[in-house]
């Protein structure tokens, strides 16, 4: 057995083998926060254009089933529900991100957990165990393939690696044996997809949609394994082939198993508080810090200099997606105070912000780059027309593991995104359920979609 085969075996044996009771509290609590945060983001996206279009699609073609497509408040098959919910989970750009791999893992895995969790009537412990398993698979695979190489080759690491983790979530909730867990992952290796061409589309549809495809494919892989489809080849060859196709190199075996059982990937989750690319967050925090100390009137800003670690600056420099355009986001933050998803849509005319954007410059800072990825540093310097200078530096944006937000703040975010869509009362009730020691997925989706308990019983 070669190194890769040994590493793959070790990883899968470990992940399929650990049980909820034996996991550290930090991992369990991280899973609860991930599930809570992502479900809020999904429910909050229900009235976004993408959700309305998906709802129309489900009207044209959907299979009846036990799982809820939250965008349409209707029950469909598990695969379709995972697809629909996965396709809106990333739309608000408020879903969390995995520190160290930049994967939006939750956007892919949580929709799977909801879809299969409803089918199997899963409780909190089952869900959290499944998510922890999914994170271990997706994130370790991303480290092994090197997510930076994936980006450079034009592939979307979130979906290429996410589908494998999604299949692990599904297998876990279906309570598949270790052998079938392995078959599920093997089948899912056939179903990876996703390119960065989505970044050429200003409306953000394709970027969100890819998460839905990865979630759906993960479910399908688990269902096929469950039904008895058995592959005779070597899983190791599939890993190797995936690495070759997406990065042109061999996978890093050691990354698959580093600190296995000592460290859980889900604990490296960053929760987002601004609806835009995470690379912009240190700059937004720095601006917020400046505004706490002084009143900054947009008309009085002569220039604003943004310095960002180089890797981040490249990602958000004059991007066609407004959510990924640092100058646009900073101009909006300065002009409007609070950033909402609507401010990043075509509804806002560029002429409104252009005069301010023209006074903002973004610099890729080589010195700051040296501190990345241990830190995510950004510096904002404002010069005013009356000769004053304000500057702030942020190394760890709020929401990162190093600068976490508390459960109260997470709850505030949940209510902020869900209240306009489902009303405050239902938002509060959903948050209450999700923060309880135990809950059933079906109870939560009922509250989020407004289905009555009677409907649930009759179902």
């Amino acid at each position: 057995m070669n190194d890769l085969a040994r590493s793959v075996e070790l990883l899968l044996d470990h992940v399929a083998g650990f049980q909820y009771a034996g996991l550290p509290i930090s991992a369990k609590e991280a899973a609860r926060r991930v599930f809570f945060d992502t479900l809020g983001v999904i429910a909050g996206a229900r009235q976004q254009p993408i959700a309305l279009k998906l709802s129309e699609y489900l009207r044209l073609s959907s299979e009846p089933g036990a799982s809820t497509a939250i965008c349409a408040s209707r029950r469909v098959s598990t695969a379709t529900a995972a697809f629909a919910n996965g396709s809106i989970s990333h739309d608000l750009e408020l879903d969390d991100i995995h520190q160290g791999t930049s994967l939006h893992v939750a956007a892919v895995l949580v929709p799977v957990a909801v879809a299969i969790g409803e089918e199997t009537d899963a409780g909190a412990d089952d869900l959290f165990l499944a998510l922890i398993r999914g994170y271990e698979i997706s994130c370790r695979l991303a480290r092994s393939l090197d997510h930076e190489k994936l980006f450079a080759a034009g592939f979307h690491p979130t979906t290429v690696c996410g589908v494998i983790g999604a299949s692990a979530v599904a297998a876990s909730l279906l309570n598949l044996s270790p052998a079938l867990f392995r078959q599920t992952v093997y089948l899912a290796m056939s179903l990876s997809s996703g390119t960065m061409a989505c970044k050429s589309e200003p409306d953000h549809y394709a970027k969100s949609f890819q998460c839905g495809v990865a979630a759906r494919n993960g479910v399908i892989a688990a269902q096929l394994a469950h039904s008895g489809i058995k592959l005779d080849g070597h899983l190791c060859a599939a890993f190797s082939g995936t690495a070759h196709a997406y990065t042109g190199t061999s996978p890093d075996c050691s990354a698959l198993i580093a600190d296995l059982g000592q460290h859980y990937e889900i604990t490296l989750t960053s929760h987002k508080i601004y609806p835009c690319c995470r690379c912009i967050h240190p700059l937004l925090d720095a601006l917020e810090n400046i505004r706490r100390k002084a009143t900054i009137v947009p008309a009085n800003v002569k220039s604003m200099k943004l310095s960002l670690y180089k890797r981040g600056a490249i990602s958000v420099d004059d991007h066609v997606l407004r959510t990924h355009n640092a100058r646009y986001a900073m101009a909006m933050a300065l002009q409007r105070g609070v950033l909402t998803r609507e401010l990043f849509t075509e509804d806002v005319r560029m002429e409104e912000v252009m005069p301010l954007m023209e006074r903002i410059e973004l610099f890729a800072d080589e010195e700051l780059q040296k501190e990345w990825p241990e830190k995510y540093p950004g510096i904002v310097t404002i010069h005013s027309h009356d000769g004053k200078r304000y500057t702030e530096r942020v190394d760890y944006p709020r929401g990162t593991p190093e600068n976490p937000i508390g459960t109260d703040e997470l709850r505030d975010k949940f209510l902020m995104v869900t209240t306009p869509v489902i009303g405050r009362d239902r938002g509060v009730e959903a948050a209450r359920l999700l923060l309880m020691r135990d809950f059933k997925v079906r109870e939560v989706t009922s509250v989020l979609t407004g289905r009555s308990t009677e409907d649930e019983r009759s179902h």
Binding site: L54, Y57, L191, S193, T195, F209, A238
Partner: protein, 284 residues
Amino acid sequence: MNGLTERLCRSLFAIPEQELSAYGARLVRQVWSRCPREIRDDFPKSVGTPPGGLAASDGSARQCPVETAAFKNAFSFAVAECRKESSKEGISRERVCSSVPVFAATALAEARGKNCRDLCYAVGVGMEAYGRFIASLASSTTRKGFDPHVLAASMAAIVACGAIEKLPPDKLAQAIGLGCSSITAVTTGYFPLQAAMAARDGIVMVLLVTCAFGAPPDALACRWGIYETHANPADMSALDLRRDHKTGIDALLDLFGSSIEENQVLQSWSESTAVSGLTADVFR
């Protein structure tokens, strides 16, 4: 200036229908006459979908939703073909991939109440796209670790379904744009599953676009488009955008030959036969 993707779609739709329909009719006949027994025998029963969705037939001759029908039929056919032809791997891959637009278009045509004329044209234009993609992709895609047949079949299924839905070229280009985001074609993957997903997603992408779902405007040639990520370097001239007559399907081999188990019903169909009548007879 329209992008490469839209120009390709325009050139495909400019080909006279009769030039494509004859090929489409032959392929539909060949594929369907080979598959009923395999579909019935091979598909695992536990993956079944509850009846009562849209009008498309699956392997057990039940009514089931349109994407599921395409997926199940294509999957079963692929498993059966690969088993039959295990000693001729290359041929079985091409046969299976040729069947992908047939299963996708049949399911959608059935659900939409189309007739065999619509189906044959759709399959013909899908295979024209298939032929052009194969010519432009082949060696570089294989070198990168992706299967050019699966990639081309994914495109062919979208084009065929777009023809069933009568999408205009710009909308078909969007459907291809979405399809490029979801192609599953790693060579070391499980080939029958990838082929089945290509059939399923041909329908999904087209239906999403009919619901005004957005997509990258030129997913073939844009930054990180399919030619950059999956086929670098590629021979884009093989897409043959200048012509308004078929070139892609002329280059394809006759993979099924003439020794097919012709089903009596399939021999008697006509252009006006409803696709639902065709599939009902196949499964009788």
